[in-house]
Subunit: 314 residues, 2 copies
């Protein structure tokens, strides 16, 4: 059984948490980092600069939330960690490419990412654009090649390629980014806000869960439950983000609170109020826990992840 | 039999050519344009701006050389045009995305493409970057979904995804673009020049031919011949490009001659001389014709395309 009031932590932050989730996250992070290091082109391979730029952003201290979801979802339906690893890595490459392109001067114009200079500050804009392009391209290559190497069925792999492309494309992540650009400097309503988040971050989180489940050969009913779980988790994640910007501790967050309000950005608290936002977070967490519960003990990590998302302080 | 001294033409330029190649090109262009129009997201689909930007560049009067090669290669081994159509369209989307990103201010900074304002001049840099990303992403989605819809084997489709990603990635097109950036303002030798072209344009032309052949279920020997054909054709294409910049007619070319020399750019004539370049063009054409000949009457279009590349005046 899952302890509902425990304080969880990811290994890269110092917050008390029960040993088992931490061990799991450490194990998965190590597994994913080793696989990415093995599968990405070596940085001495010609032309070296592009492979260095790809690795610079991939190994930049990311939380690996998407790979963790992929592998946990695979295990929830009886799959192995190994067989879900190509999809887990592909998801992380797509996420990383999106961050490189988001940081470009023409987009969010961010000079720093996770405390380090962003790709275009280190390698210049041209190489940063190409490094993003290359990571997106390589995500599909890695997914197919390594999945087939591990003996996955070509039909399942084809489904994974389609899911990944849909989630990353204009119906998903890219579409969300465009809606976000369009929303700049004007108020959106709750439906508008949900659509942005649903596409911009929700689609890839959902794909992370679904690709893991597909790798493990999940049945239709299992896939439906896991999809609903991922949707609830993605929504909870975003509401919590907005709440932390109002009520968080800037020392723990590692960034000042109140930045959304300062930028006049539409958030859950600014649209539906603080109390209603908290209620919504509780509801979405409840939904995610209930769905994780369908998988019994195998769904325990998914449940703990939902609690982590609710209780995190950063 | 192929007439070796005929003057061929693509339907978008006014040079005399025998009717059959022109009919073929018109037919394939119509087929590809209709498929792209049917398969790309509608421009009213939300968010409209990104779908409009994708279509603006896809329907910008491109020559569709890659789709023509895909379909001709498929037919050379007894395949249908229809079954190669998803791969043909995917190749064109990847080609189009590369042009949008190449034109960006941080890259080649070109305000015009095919006589029209380039994507970032019309939609702004942010949307142009995202439109490129979206076309690359959608290429994989379209390739898999439409190939499976047409009853292609998932194993073959997986191979096609891998081939396309490799050709478009750092071992191919993106790698060539990086080498080209690195070569700016300095002389390269023949080996250096060949590596740039081999990756920057050759890899995608080769993938165009191979994906068509794979769609048609080509055997190992056929695939080997077609790969060698594509390599010869790609090299001939580039040598001819460089020759036209020295000896071409600027009225027919639609751009001034001598621009390579003015930019101090390394070209075949500048490295090995004009006569040697012409000899090399003749040799590569000979090789391509010989390989096309292995496919008898079914290889006739491939042979005519090799002659077109040699004899074109634009």
């Amino acid at each position: 059984m899952v302890s509902r009031n425990c304080s969880l932590r990811f290994p890269w932050r110092k917050v008390p948490r029960p040993m088992d989730l931490q061990s799991y996250l450490t194990e998965v992070n190590t597994l994913v980092d080793r696989a990415l290091d093995r599968w990405l082109p070596g940085q001495k391979l010609k032309p070296g600069i592009i492979h260095q730029a790809m690795r610079y952003s991939v190994f930049a201290g990311g939380k690996r939330l998407r790979p963790v979801l992929t592998i946990a979802a695979s295990e929830s339906v009886g799959g192995t960690q190994g067989k879900a690893l190509p999809a887990a890595c592909a998801l992380e490459l797509v996420h990383t490419y999106s961050l490189i392109h988001d940081d470009l001067p023409a987009m969010d114009d961010d000079d720093f990412r996770r405390g380090r200079p962003s790709s275009h500050k280190v390698y210049g804009e041209a190489v940063a654009i190409l490094a993003g392009d290359a990571l997106l391209t390589y995500a599909f290559e890695l997914l197919v090649r390594e999945s087939l190497n591990l003996g996955s069925d070509a039909g399942l792999v084809s489904s994974q390629v389609q899911e990944l492309a849909q989630a990353a494309g204009t119906a998903g992540m890219i579409g969300g980014q465009v809606l976000d650009l369009e929303a700049e400097g004007r108020k959106v309503d709750l439906a508008g806000l949900e659509e942005i988040h649903h596409r911009k971050t929700g689609a890839l989180l959902k794909a992370a869960v679904r690709l893991g489940a597909i790798a493990a050969g999940a049945g239709w009913e299992e896939l439906t439950d896991l999809t609903a779980y991922a949707e609830a988790l993605g929504l909870a994640f975003q509401i919590k983000d907005d709440l932390l910007d109002v009520e968080g501790d800037s020392a723990k967050l590692g960034k000042p609170v109140g930045s959304d309000a300062a930028k006049d950005k539409s958030t859950y608290p600014s649209i539906i109020g603080l109390e209603q936002s908290k209620l919504m977070l509780a509801e979405q967490t409840e939904t995610a826990l209930k769905l994780a519960g369908h998988f019994g003990d195998k769904g325990r990590i998914l449940a703990e992840l939902a609690l982590f998302v609710r209780d995190r302080e950063f």
